[in-house]
Amino acid sequence: MTLADATILPLALKDVSFAAGGKRLIKDATCVFTPGLCTAVIGPNGAGKSLLLRLCHGLIRPSGGEVVWEGAAGRDPRPHQAMVFQRPVMLRRSATANIEYALSLRGVAPRLRREIAQDALDRTGLKRFARHPARVLSGGEQQRLALARAWALKPQVLFLDEPTASLDPAATHSVEEIVAAFRAAGTRVILTTHDLGQARRLADEVVFMHRGRILEKAPARNFFAGPENDLAQAFLKGELLWWRLGRDNRRPPKHQRTEDRP
């Protein structure tokens, strides 16, 4: 699987909703993710950012609406994606073996696995941990290992759910460097984050969510200069939003008005 394979993007969400335990957690989510960018999904706690990511990646099924990989044309989009979670999940084996395991799931030949794994460890600066048990590495090192594992899979789309929320600034910096490397290699990156500074550093595009709805989607430059949505404005200023409904919550957000409804 290489990036040279026909792309599965763009990813289109069409009126996606998700309910669990009788509560609607995602409501009428509609947007399109085009190739070549890095999108940060931001918003207060409970906005549904992590859920949205999992709906995109296919870990959960929407209760309503559709998640469509428009470029896939009948192919299975899953092998072309990878996801990194807030807490890295490593098997009880060496760092190299963890990467080789992921490669074996993708059907990569045994001879090639070792090579690809070594390369991925080099790229992420983890060469000296190749034979170490993955679980004795520090939090930051394990997260970089998770990224190395994703790198080895050469995904077209990389999802990251709060990848640095549990890490110290130095580890955060290393992780962001690697994410930037993915971006530079052409991988479509979609990440959620609490860290507005991180969003500013990494994102080309910002999606703002509140109480399960996508309220705004705009190029990062524009968004951070001054968002259109009032709640987004308040969020950027650091205000708490949980009790506010917003001034104009019946009109569809701007990104849905100007873009063609798919």
């Binding site: 990878a82 996801m83 999940v89 098997l91 799931l105 004795v136």
Partner: protein, 234 residues
């Protein structure tokens, strides 16, 4: 308790002499119980893992049943296996009654639920931790069975040791299906029962102590292996 004092000296005497009969009995005990544990693990571990990972109708009832069967009375298992293997029973033609094979069958049935139930719990806990990442990487429940069994190997050894403990300590099942035949199907527990019935309590106690010593040795070895491996693989 002067019976205990004699018992200790008798026990050491027996071991030191490498009493021929005793060696035969100990060897058979180990053979029967270890083989039973091996078979029960081979069947019970994938079974327990599947119970943890797959959803199907009646799953909850099956889990309750497996848990309940952890407490199967050995003598009942012995009786059922006897009725199956008896010449007058459905599997009589194989002539397995009163052989070590019958004893292995009975003990395997006895400890299968223990291993399956403990495996199920361990794997269910692991799956909770690993599920999203494994599914993201493309490993569904089917592929995950063996990945998780290997990853949970340290916790699973405890399940295996629990099974071995139950097997090596039971007397009801092997007595009925084995017949406690001298030089053929006599194991430590049935030998102890025999000596008690003869009134030779000191010898019975000595054999009992020996059994406990053996069990301790095996558990100690397992613990050591686990510690060394854990240090190596984290």
């Amino acid at each position: 308790m002067d019976g205990a004092g004699t018992a200790l000296t008798d026990a050491f005497g027996l071991i030191a002499r490498f009493d021929g009969d005793l060696v035969e009995i100990v060897a058979l005990s180990l053979k029967v119980s270890l083989t039973a544990v091996g078979l029960a693990a081979l069947i019970g571990m994938p079974l327990g893992a599947a119970l943890a990972l797959f959803r199907f109708p009646g799953r909850h009832s099956l889990v309750v049943l497996v848990n309940a069967f952890m407490g199967l009375p050995p003598v009942v298992v012995g009786l059922v296996v006897y009725l199956l293997l008896s010449r007058a029973g459905p599997l009589g033609t194989f002539g397995l009654l009163f052989t070590p094979t019958a004893m292995i069958v009975a003990q395997t049935i006895l400890i299968l639920p223990i291993i399956a139930a403990l495996t199920r719990q361990t794997i269910a806990d692991l799956w909770r931790e690993y599920e999203e990442q494994l599914r993201s990487l493309g490993a569904g429940p089917g592929r995950a069975v063996f990945t998780l069994l290997w990853d949970g190997r340290f916790s699973l050894t405890t399940a295996v040791l629990a099974g071995f403990g139950r097997a090596s300590a039971e007397v009801g099942a092997v007595m009925i299906v084995g017949g406690n035949i001298d030089h053929a199907t006599r194991v430590m527990t049935t030998a102890i029962a025999l000596e008690v019935s003869k009134g030779d309590l000191a010898l019975a106690l000595a054999l009992g102590l020996l059994l406990i010593l053996l069990s301790t040795a095996i558990n100690g070895a397992a613990y050591l292996i686990r510690e060394i491996a854990a240090r190596r693989h984290g």
